[in-house]
Symmetry: C2
Subunit: 604 residues, 2 copies
């Protein structure tokens, strides 16, 4: 039964929902929702990261999940009246598996959208606060092992033939955050990373890189950045923080380790993974395998006919470090998204003569403007109002992807009006602007394709001033001995060409390490199925293949920016822990192959 | 003028205080206090760490400080009614120099004690929260220096002949916390430490050491321990945390560096300091010199006649690492305070036969009991009630040292009744118990002498069980070939003797590095002047020579446990920053030599 905290309509609504769910009365549940409704669930009901849309889909979801979920104890923790007809209810609840949190948005007394999230597993709560470890066994014992001895044993364990339950390929921010969550849940996990030290994935990037998102959005779990941390973290400072984090969170992390291949043993339900650790072959047999190799997969390289005759250098942006070798040289940067802009500035600052080649339009938003209008719940103001990062994350997740475009379009309409003069000058300089196929701006592009945008921290003014030249609306035909040739018949002389042409999907890493067949079965990662450019339908409603079961048993993808990695590492870690403890229920809406699952929902 | 927040008596009292202070009306101020009153001030009025006691002393203090302090803007932030006749007012205020916080305790409408603290310097507020740095200069610039380049320049600066404004000798927890505060205040500071790496001062201690104070009491400034941190931090984990802290707080830290000598140039008002860095001589000329060489000075070693004929080993506890070499051997531990107990347990766990020699009585309190009764404001319960570590620190400081004994005696009366059975058994085993000359227990011993106590985490049970033998109430006469001889005519055979005999005062380090004359002029550190054993009077009312001006210009002492180092590092850093910026007012009650100061108060 729910506990009523007032006589508010919202509160009564949650009481009815709790009663109907507890009584297994699905029609009564449906009566509490609008026809056009959304139920977003992270593990609590579906053991999946899943949004069901519309009453028919909701009915199907509940029919498959309600009896095993056994939800109860729905309790309002906070009510926000958004306007006369709309309110947001924050609540907690419990299921057979553990404790949950959620947010429901009511319009005219009925639910438009609801988020339900599993937050902990009963009997396996994290050892934090009142559950924190003592750090020492009081009393004397001749068999005492000190912390140092326990830690040394743990660090050497996987070297001596023990198998981690979970192997994480990739020790960047995503792998590290997931490793920290698994550690706190007591899952034996090993992170392997081809770079030598944690943080090198940031350190190895170009000299002038700073995070484009602000500090309030970037916190890692358990150990938030301190209050004097800069708004935009410089890349090497981020590298140091990650290295420190691995140490104090006591992760097991093998640097200098490449993953060569992995094969799944269908009978034993374990992986056989071949690693090269400092050049030496090591085989491990983990049960779960996580690909955390970066938000994107391998670098995407343009075929450049004539490259063998080109007398300059050609690099992909991921290999570019700094421009000091190019002072006074002519540089052509192919690509006009984030790294294209950043690399162009870096080259310009080093004294190169820079042309940026823009093959398709880019969404640009000034950093100051985005901070002002776009990060309201991740800001100093929010912190002062008591909205910590976990609260903000839940609030952000409460809006299903399907409902984001209208509010994003409104945001970008506002931004475009506010910076009209800036955008006019940028277009006058020959720059091709866009705000997405439906004018919804940067965030939707990030979710749909992870490409095609730039948060301006200085490059745009250089473009406006003609310091960085723009060659737009053309395709590259190839290289000549002296430069780059375009399909409009022109040619630009170049001493160095930087391909800021993006990355393939993460599932291409699976093709390299597991098999082409597995990669194709799983399909691409990222994107929502919006039916827009580079994000083909059908509509999927969540990020494809990320943080949830895919069409290969015991294989997972983790990644994204710091914020997504932070938030979803919790749910991915809980899925892995639940499997280790035999607590995971059937997956609703899982891909057809491999996993025991309920049939796919008939959702649109 | 103050802003009234209610019509409470406490609030009215603060209004009157603010009006009287602002009006310079000292008799009106005095009329608000009991005859037997205490004003504890950290920098706000006195530019000192100073408690004045009684109305006459208070009058003297105000006469010397009020006109330059110009206090104003007294505002109640919280009122606690402690009982019908007693209340505690939390308030903020401002002075000519900056912002302050304080707490006043009223009894029957008049003030019994008040704490005033300076918290920031106007125009030099720490860059935190809304003042945090941006991390990047937006816009492009060919003169851009990245964070990495700035940091590299800073790290190499002192090597290339720049002088730090402040040199901190000793890179343990005290030096590190002070360094972090100075960093945030923009004071160029260098920490030098003889061990190679930050944290080694913990790592080098005995194998089984864990902190005896709980995590809630141990936080470092800016970067609190996370919620899963163990209650009692193991020494090597503490070492790792300190090493990480130095890195992410961006301190400049020279490991492997010994301070050989330091001389003060009276004309230039600078030090000339000779260092040996990795064996190479380096001279630096800092303006301020801080001794943070540990709460105590050099190891105190007993003269042991006959030591040259002794066939076993003799070590001081500070050199003791682990007992693995002593399995089956006979060990005699001289000294029965914290390290004597810990070393005895470590030897026993390693399989040695251990006798602990107790030359004088020890205060023992069981860790669980102390957690239960003694750490109320530093606990998970306190955190849940919103009492964070800064709040708890201020609350603890609100009671002047002179008023601590009665409440500490009450606490130990309670503890002795609660653990009566434990104490009876310990005495039956031959252990000499005491609770201080006035029965006030452990904390007062810590402040008065920093010695003579043990927080029991297991040794006492081994003593009760006879596993660790006690030889008590004797003095050591010397060593024979085979063991230790006592003044009662007995002898104990020994293969190894560990002197857990404590440390000399920190001012002995000054004698080694500066001069005997300077050390004697300054006098011993620590202690309150309580007139009890090893803490001779006259009454001083604060810790002698710690965190405040001493009888040598531009020389400071910093140290103590994590809690004291954390709390007082703020006020020591503000004193140093104020001198760098020329903002420090005259020091009230400063020692006679060297510093421009007001005359010593006529306080008792």
């Amino acid at each position: 039964m729910h506990d009523r905290v007032g006589l508010n309509e919202s509160d009564v609504w949650l009481g009815h929902l709790g009663d109907a769910l507890e009584g297994g009365d699905i029609p009564a549940v449906l009566a509490l929702f609008h026809e056009d409704c959304y139920w977003r669930d992270f593990l609590a009901f579906t053991w999946n990261v899943k949004t069901v849309e519309g009453k028919a889909s909701l009915e199907d979801m509940l029919e498959h999940t309600l009896s095993s979920t056994r939800p109860r104890g729905w309790k309002v923790t906070r009510i926000e009246e958004l306007d006369v007809a709309e309110s947001r209810i924050w609540f907690r609840f419990a299921t057979a598996a553990g404790e949950g949190l959620g947010i429901a948005t009511l319009q005219d007394g009925l639910c438009r959208s609801i988020l339900t999230t599993l937050q902990s597993l009963v009997g396996h709560e994290e050892p934090s606060g009142r559950r924190r470890p003592l750090g020492v066994r009081h009393g004397a014992s001749r068999a005492r092992r000190t912390w140092t001895e326990e830690r040394a044993a743990e660090l050497s364990g996987f070297e001596l033939g023990q198998d981690p339950y979970c192997l994480i390929i990739g020790g960047g921010q995503g792998g590290i955050m997931l490793g920290a969550r698994l550690r706190q849940l007591g899952v034996p996990a090993l992170i392997v990373e081809k770079n030598a030290r944690p943080g090198d994935s940031w350190r190895n990037r170009y000299r002038s890189l700073v995070l484009h998102d602000p500090v309030w959005y970037d916190h890692l779990p358990y150990l938030p950045f301190p209050e004097h941390w800069p708004v935009f973290t410089p890349k090497d400072k981020m590298g140091d923080w990650l290295e420190m984090y691995v140490r104090v969170m006591e992760l097991v992390y093998w640097g200098g380790t490449e993953c060569v291949s992995a094969a799944f043993d269908q009978e034993e339900k374990r992986w056989s993974v071949e690693l090269l650790r400092d050049g030496k072959a090591v085989t491990l047999r983990p049960t779960q395998l996580v690909f955390a190799t970066g938000a994107y997969g391998p670098p995407k390289l343009l075929e450049l006919p004539g490259q063998s005759n080109f007398q300059g250098e050609v690099h992909h942006s991921s290999q570019y470090r700094d421009g000091s070798a190019y002072a006074g040289k002519r540089a052509v940067v192919i690509g006009a998204a984030s790294s294209g802009h950043d690399v162009s500035v870096d080259l310009w600052e080093a004294g190169a003569e820079v042309t940026m080649v823009q093959r398709s339009p880019t969404t640009v938003v000034r950093s100051e403007t985005l901070m002002k209008f776009g990060f309201d719940i991740y800001s100093e103001e929010a912190v002062e109002q008591g909205i910590d990062v976990d609260t903000a994350d839940l609030m952000a997740a409460a809006t299903p992807f399907a409902l984001l475009p209208p509010s994003q379009k409104a945001l970008y309409d506002r931004i475009r009006a506010y910076d009209a003069d800036f955008y006019r000058k940028l277009e006058e300089a020959g720059f091709l602007l866009d705000f997405g196929p439906d004018e919804t701006g940067l965030l939707m592009k990030a979710y749909r394709t992870g490409s095609g945008y730039y948060i301006d921290v200085g490059a745009s003014q250089l473009i406006i001033d003609g310091e960085i030249r723009i060659k737009s609306g053309v395709e590259v035909e190839g290289l000549t001995a002296q430069g780059v040739a375009f399909n409009d018949g022109t040619e630009i002389p170049a001493d160095v060409v930087i391909q800021s042409t993006g990355f393939h999907s993460m599932h291409e890493v699976v093709a390299q390490i597991v098999s082409r067949e597995a990669a194709d079965r799983i399909g691409p990662c990222w994107g929502l199925g919006s039916g827009t450019r580079h994000d083909p339908g059908p509509w999927h409603g969540e990020l494809r293949n990320m943080y949830k079961p895919v069409a290969q048993e015991n294989l997972w993808f983790h990644g994204g920016n710091l914020a997504l990695s932070r938030f979803f590492s919790k749910f991915l870690a809980l899925q892995i822990k639940a499997r280790m403890e035999g607590l995971a229920g059937p997956v609703y809406g899982a891909p057809a192959t491999g996993l025991r699952s309920a049939p796919l929902a008939s959702a649109r």
